[in-house]
């Protein structure tokens, strides 16, 4: 930065000399002599040196800016990767037993993962959707799906997540994941899904 100031001063000085020369025309034709020729050559040399120096400074600055941009791009890509990874963790579903809404032991770890994500990303807000298999009654399943979503939410709230960051909805048996009337399909359909409703543009790992 200091060099830049020095350079500016130099340029100003040169400009002043040039202005003094141009702004003071001799009434008589000036007679060139050896001294003035040498002075002029020295002046031209000094301008050339200064130009060269200026070029190298500009090149250095451009180079450093390019590197900074590259670093920034690299870190943005990394952040996007992390965001995707965290989103995938957050979207991991949990499942339920038939006509039950309690969190199964195996699914507590999945929910703990979501607690970490919600803590590390305070702006993040999510929606939990409860789903059922088709064996129960159509209308009762709306209540059961709601109960499942509420049960997952309660788990997160018990771990200290603010309740107003989590909304719940129920789809009953209306949006099956797996078709067919097998125990396997039914087990897949009894689930809670997690989706981001806000603050999920850039996520960090827990």
């Amino acid at each position: 930065m200091k060099r830049l100031q020095l350079f500016t001063l130099t340029v100003l000085a040169v400009a002043a000399v040039a202005a003094a020369c141009g702004g003071n025309p001799a009434p008589a034709t000036p007679q060139p002599n050896a001294d003035s020729l040498a002075m002029e050559r020295a002046r031209q040399d000094s301008i050339a040196r200064e130009m060269a120096r200026q070029d190298s400074i500009r090149r250095a600055m451009e180079e450093s800016e390019r590197a900074a941009r590259q670093r920034e791009a690299d870190s943005l890509a990394a952040l996007a990767r992390i965001t995707e990874e965290v989103r995938a963790m957050l979207a991991q579903m949990i499942n339920f037993d038939f006509d039950r809404s309690n969190i199964r032991t195996g699914d507590a770890a999945t929910l703990d993962g979501k607690v970490g994500i919600l803590r590390a990303n305070p702006a993040l807000r999510i929606r939990i959707a409860g789903h059922c298999d088709e064996r129960g009654s159509d209308e009762y399943n709306l209540a059961l799906g709601n109960r499942r979503a509420a049960s997952a939410k309660q788990y997160l709230v018990n771990q200290g997540i603010a309740a107003d960051r989590i909304e719940i909805v129920s789809y009953g048996e209306e949006r099956p994941m797996a078709m067919g009337q097998t125990e396997e399909a039914w087990a897949q359909n009894r689930r809670a899904e997690f989706e981001i409703v806000g603050g999920g543009e850039m996520l960090v790992r827990p």
């Binding site: 006509d99 929606r127 959707a129 064996r135 129960g136 009654s137 159509d138 209308e139 009762y140 709306l142 209540a143 059961l144 709601n146 109960r147 509420a150 939410k153 309740a163 719940i168 909805v169 129920s170 789809y171 209306e174």
Partner: protein, 457 residues
Amino acid sequence: MRGLLRGGLAAATLVAGGGARAVAQDTMAVDRGVRIGIVYRPGVRPGFVALGAPAELDSVRVMIARDLDFTDRFEIITLPGGDSTRVSGSAAAPRRGSAAAPAGLNYPLYQALGADFALGLTRAGDSTVAVVHDVAAGAVRRRLAARIPPPGHPDFRQSVHRLSDQVLQATLGVPGIAATRVLFVREGRVYVIDQDGADVRLVSASDRQAMSPAWSAEGRQFAYMEFRDGRGQLFLRDMASGQRRPLAVTGRSLDFTPAFSPDARTMAFSRATDEGTDIYTLNVRDDCCLQRLTVGRFSDNLSPAYSPDGRRLAFVSTRSGLAQIYVMAADGTDQELFAPFDYGVTGSSNAPDWSPDGRTVAFHRDVGGTLQVFVLDVRTRTVRQLTSVGRNEDATWAPDSRHLAFVSDRAGYRQLWIIDIETGRIRPLLQQSGARLPAWSPRLPESAIVNPRPGDR
């Protein structure tokens, strides 16, 4: 010996099929050779014969005969030889001298065939006249004149159904269900179908999924739920105009299973929130004044169904663990168990519907992993299983309090069926698959029977 036994069985079958139906079961069960302990009340039904009619009234005659058959209150008797009987019977003298039989009538023959009533159809000017004969008395009992538009006219079928109901009133003195319709849901849309399976019409199309249609008591409008993004809002739809009105106090969370009070001023419904599902009421006219009837906390309360006097609500609650049928006063007080169950043994019970005569509540219950339709006797608090073949659910009462429409997969797909709880006779209502959540209309006032329009969004 073996031949004798077989002959005896055949005779019994004939009696059961064409006669008194002394012991009836879920008839599909009989067809498939399944025997379970569901036995219906024995009863002898009066015989009814539909006489030949002029050719232009034949479609009317066929419809009325079918409507009367579907009442399950008569044995419908077919005359041997059809129309010719009318002509050949003219020679027969009336059995009783007091009333001379009109030409072409053969009361002794009808009586020999087991008929108590006979129906003739004639035209008189613009009117169609249904002549109801009392066979035992050998005389005309009633003449019922009706204006029936020509077949193919949009009002033709309902006009004939109304005449059928008049015939039932003139013979047995009870109101019928011929001029009624059933709402149901298929592929997220609400349809209506006549009780005889004719005229399926779309009545609600929206880009949102529809569920749980429920008639108002006078049959001019129905309520239903529209489902989007896991939330549910309640709407009213006018049958005549097709206009759709949202209930603005619903829809912020998941509101479902609407039920009109008998005076149509109040609507009870279920609301699912973070706290679980509870029953609320709202003021229909002013779209306001939410009142909460249940506070479940750790249990869910849903699917309210008004008693016909409007003073009580049957509903579903999970307070004992599995869903079971409870009852409360219409203001939410006096909540108690309604349909008894064995704790830890009886499966979950859902979807109560209170019969229009107030005596019975239909619901479905999980039996061995599938659903079956049951009825609860309100006075004695005893339950009776009605169905046993396949999965049977979401029963809805006809206005006569003896027929129920329900969803069954007994024929392979979930379709609509109708059961008569007196005889156990079952008939298909709609043979398209995927139909569900039926709601049987009240007796429809003439002005309410107009062609519903698919309507605006």
